[in-house]
Amino acid sequence: MNHIDELAESYALGALDDDARHDVEQHVARCATCATRLSDAADVVASLVAAGPGATPAATLRERLLAGTRRPERLERIWGGLAAAFVLGMLVPLVSLFWIGNRDLRADHRSDVVLATLVNSHFNHVQFNEPAAEMPAKALYGRHGEWVYVIVLHPHGTLVVEGRSPDGVFRPLGSVVPQGRNGTMFAEPTEPVDALRLLSDGTVVGTAKLVTHR
């Protein structure tokens, strides 16, 4: 899209349909010149509104709004759902991943071990920080950092998870494997890890610090 030019004033006035509005928003996110023009137009609209009739919202609106910021966000609810699925129904994909990370387990005890891990182990969870916002990711991990299960929503590119060993060095733990629309990675590092990072084609797109009990 070229510069938004005269669309800036129409946008601020509300004279665009939803599609054109969206185009303007996309453009000003990347163009300082047009963002400034839009801000100028917005100042005029704010003046027009202030010149118009005043109205006062009900006192309850403030509390309702602030309660909304405390409510778990949609993403948190997705994670809550995933955690429940993890415990209740995601056994099949986990079993196969668990096998990959536990080649030394005796075959006849594999299922038992997986179930035991799920049911008996205390695990923590952490969300990968800001850089991964485009590709939200979360890690479930054993409380001693002895195992790590990473879930990435809508992954793209080649994703690798690295873990930080006690010597402070990040070492690869494994690749994120597609599971439907999401991706997962399970690993049991040889040494406990206290931090994770997510790399997309070699670039760090997220980090997470693990709270482990030594």
Partner: protein, 176 residues
Amino acid sequence: MNDEALAAAFAQRRPEALAVAYDRYAKLLYSAAYAVLQNSADAEDCVHDSLLSLWKKTRAFMPWRGNLRSFLVVCVRNAAISKKRAQVRHSRIEDVRALAAEEREPFDPFEHERLARALALLPAEQRDPLRLAYDEHLTQTQIAQQLSIPLGTVKSRISLAMKKLRDALEVHHESH
């Protein structure tokens, strides 16, 4: 917290910033939504939903560079207009003009006077498309149809009208 610090805190999603922004701008934002929707429940929902969704994706704010107050007014007002257009599509059009005519004081009497003077200075060919956009919430295309002028002309007249208003407001500001 001055407005600049508030804008920065809002963009960083600092917990206190939404409360401060609400306390500072809620009346103006609600007035903006109410002027469009003419219904208190809808206007409250609109302010609530817009503020919360902006709060949750504040990156959208960053590129604007402008002041938080104007930004919020435009976002809330645009959301109200979308809601209004959807309502009009899905129900019979009621005579909202009659409701709007109920006697109410301007939000800011000083601003009211400044704008009235600035608007009076606009030629009719610029004021009419501006009024259809602002008061009737028509899109550029609808305005072009209503006034029987090309779309490009609507765009440039609206743009010119807005720039003149801005200049008039600024000049007036400096003389104070």
